[in-house]
């Protein structure tokens, strides 16, 4: 039973992390109509910055904050230098151009940090188990991730729904020309939105770093999942991204943990052992396929599209 609770919490934590990533992707698409394949690269850069800054400053938290700021800056720089020229173009152009950026970033990281990858160790105060329920302990760090991501989700909600900037973001989403005509500096708005998306990606990257990995190519791996989430949730919809991310987080985590056992009930141990890894990986794509058949536009599509 505790295993089940633990896996549920892991699923929640994974889902929330994915939400950060997907939210950035869908925000940029919803506001600027931009497909950004290099979103995963920003995720990777966040992790690399965090590992480096934490090593320099000796503090995990300080390293994380510096990494966040650095990723934000990189994001804004990318927007000004490259993304601006892609607005309004065919989506294929976005795909190709940002794919080129992936190549560039992967190689740049390899140039600066070498091909080996880095590690980001946790400080002792985070690397301890915490008692949540009698007889059940859970990693403090994973709890911290849950808390931080929920806080960020809350912040995003407040930002988009209740502030003037959020109103501009939503207005931009529905009527670009109008917002521009109102004298709002659309260029600056877009830069900030893109920067926000980058920061979200970077945050996700640096938070998962101590648990999973800091290596070249990590962006490409996770980008697919972000896409699956966006398809399931509906492009341009942050609420959709949230629900879909949690769904994907649970299905993937619980699936990998318990699906092999389920298989063993129906298949021979040999067959189950062979099929399990492959089928577990497939689960989230099956969910996506089902959603596509039932509701091709996603579960909570943004009204505009």
């Amino acid at each position: 039973m505790t295993l089940f609770i633990e896996q549920c919490l892991n699923g929640l934590q994974f889902g929330l992390l994915l939400f950060l990533l997907a939210a950035g992707l869908t925000l940029v698409f919803g506001i600027m109509d931009l497909v950004n394949l290099a979103h995963g690269s920003l995720y990777m850069i966040g992790a690399y910055f965090a590992a480096t800054f934490a090593a320099w400053t000796g503090s995990f938290v300080l390293g994380a904050l510096l990494a966040l700021a650095a990723t934000l800056l990189v994001g804004m720089a990318v927007e000004v230098i490259a993304m601006r020229r892609l607005y309004g173009r065919d989506h294929l152009d976005h795909v190709l151009g940002t794919f080129g950026l992936i190549l560039f970033f992967d190689e740049a990281v390899r140039l600066i940090w070498g091909p080996e990858g880095l590690s980001l160790p946790l400080p002792p105060w985070l690397n301890t188990p915490v008692q949540i329920l009698p007889g059940f302990q859970y990693s403090a760090y994973r709890l911290a991730i849950i808390v931080v991501t929920l806080a960020v989700a809350g912040f995003l909600y407040v930002l988009v729904m209740r502030t003037r900037i959020g109103m501009l973001i939503r207005a931009g989403a529905s009527n670009r020309e109008m917002v521009g005509a109102l004298g709002v500096n659309i260029k600056l708005l877009y830069t900030l939105v893109f920067g926000l998306g980058a920061a979200l990606a970077g945050l996700a990257g640096l938070m998962q770093a101590p648990i999973l990995t800091v290596q070249i190519g990590m962006g490409e791996n996770i980008l697919i999942i972000a896409f699956v989430i966006t398809v399931i949730g509906g492009i341009g919809s942050i609420r959709g991204a949230f629900i879909a991310a949690l769904l994907v987080g649970f299905v993937d985590t619980l699936g990998r943990a318990f699906f092999p056992d389920l298989l063993r009930l129906v298949l021979s141990p040999n067959a189950a052992a062979t099929a399990a890894p492959a089928l577990s990986s497939m689960l989230i794509y099956l969910v996506m396929a089902i959603v596509l058949v039932v509701r091709p536009e996603g579960l909570f599509p943004a009204v505009r599209k």
Binding site: L103, F104, I224, I235, M282, E297
Partner: protein
């Protein structure tokens, strides 16, 4: 493709002739490595030509085309692993498996458009990657060595580098010609019309979904054949053949070469892979150059090399 003596047609002709005569050059004392490199180029060119059918002519931005390279390759690899070396068994399986995969994925994906379509094809192809990587019996992540190439009748011997090169080249030319006839046929007109204005096509009376699906399956099957060739060429298959960034490579070839003609992708494959070879000789960090270069092509030379050649020719004419 007009027959006029333009700069563009001349370049294409020279390229095709060079490809045909390459083994002679190698035989006359050239480096055997060149033959190996160009066999790979020819195979990937075939994959790119098949992608252009749906991407350039059909307007279907599939980001999962590399999956078929993997399916074709693994069909050969798995059967070889199980002791079935006959090409007459392996290759039909490669084609059939590719067609089936394309049919299922296409049926689901073609209900969507634009960005959704890109993401969905990408995700499904990645799913195939994970499935294959999970097959421990066939090497999983490490891949699978092929100890014996596909066997056909004597005197056909795929281990003979020159023979194998000419086989690949013939199949490339055949595939290119097939695509040429397809896009100019009635079927091709429907596909092109659907790319140009899908709503209008439906309004004038075409059930576009089924035509696009057939097109999607044809493209996937052709690429599966390229996959079977690739497996034979490298004597090895691994899930990385199908990783989604390989689909990106194929798209680069198509766009770099030019989407507007059937030989564009061929030009693109040659250009990209030769460029990679040259650049990697200069620096191991060549992708740092390739990345921004791609962005520049997208921004300023959207018609690809083919387009640039056509413009160059037009300038010289009244």
């Amino acid at each position: 493709m007009s027959g006029a003596l333009t700069i563009r047609n001349s370049v294409v002709f020279v390229l095709l002739a060079a490809l045909a005569l390459l083994p002679l050059y190698v035989g006359l004392g050239g480096n055997i490595f060149v033959l190996t490199l160009f066999t790979r180029i020819v195979i990937l060119a075939m994959a790119a030509v098949s992608l252009n059918l749906i991407l350039g002519y059909g307007g279907m931005m599939s980001f999962g085309h590399a999956a078929y390279l993997g399916i074709g390759g693994y069909a050969v690899g798995i059967l070889a692993h199980e002791g079935i070396y006959s090409g007459f068994a392996q290759w039909p399986v490669a084609l059939f498996a590719s067609a089936l995969f394309a049919l299922v994925i296409g049926a689901l994906s073609l209900r969507t458009r634009g960005v959704y379509f890109i993401m969905i094809t990408l995700a499904f192809a990645q799913m195939a990657y994970y499935i294959v990587a999970g097959l421990a019996r066939y090497g999983g992540d490490d891949g699978l060595t092929i100890y014996k190439r596909s066997q056909f009748f004597e005197p056909v011997n795929l281990s003979n580098k020159v023979q194998f090169y000419y086989l690949c080249l013939t199949l490339l030319f055949g595939a290119t010609y097939l695509v040429y006839r397809l896009v100019n046929s009635r079927f091709g007109m429907v596909i092109q019309g659907a790319r140009s204005n899908e709503l209008r096509m439906r309004a004038i009376g075409f059930p576009t979904y089924r035509y696009r699906l057939v097109c999607f399956v044809i493209a996937g099957t052709l690429c599966g054949l390229a996959g079977a060739l690739l497996g034979n060429h490298t004597d090895f298959v691994s899930p990385s053949m199908m990783y989604w960034t390989r689909s990106g490579d194929l798209i680069i070839m198509v766009v770099l070469g030019g989407m507007g003609s059937v030989v564009g992708p061929l030009i693109g494959a040659v250009a990209l892979l030769v460029l990679e070879e040259l650049l990697s000789g200069i620096t191991e960090y060549w992708q740092i150059i390739l990345g921004p270069l791609l962005l520049l092509v997208v921004l300023f030379a959207r018609g690809g090399i083919d387009g640039l050649l056509a413009k160059a020719g037009a300038k010289g004419q009244p």
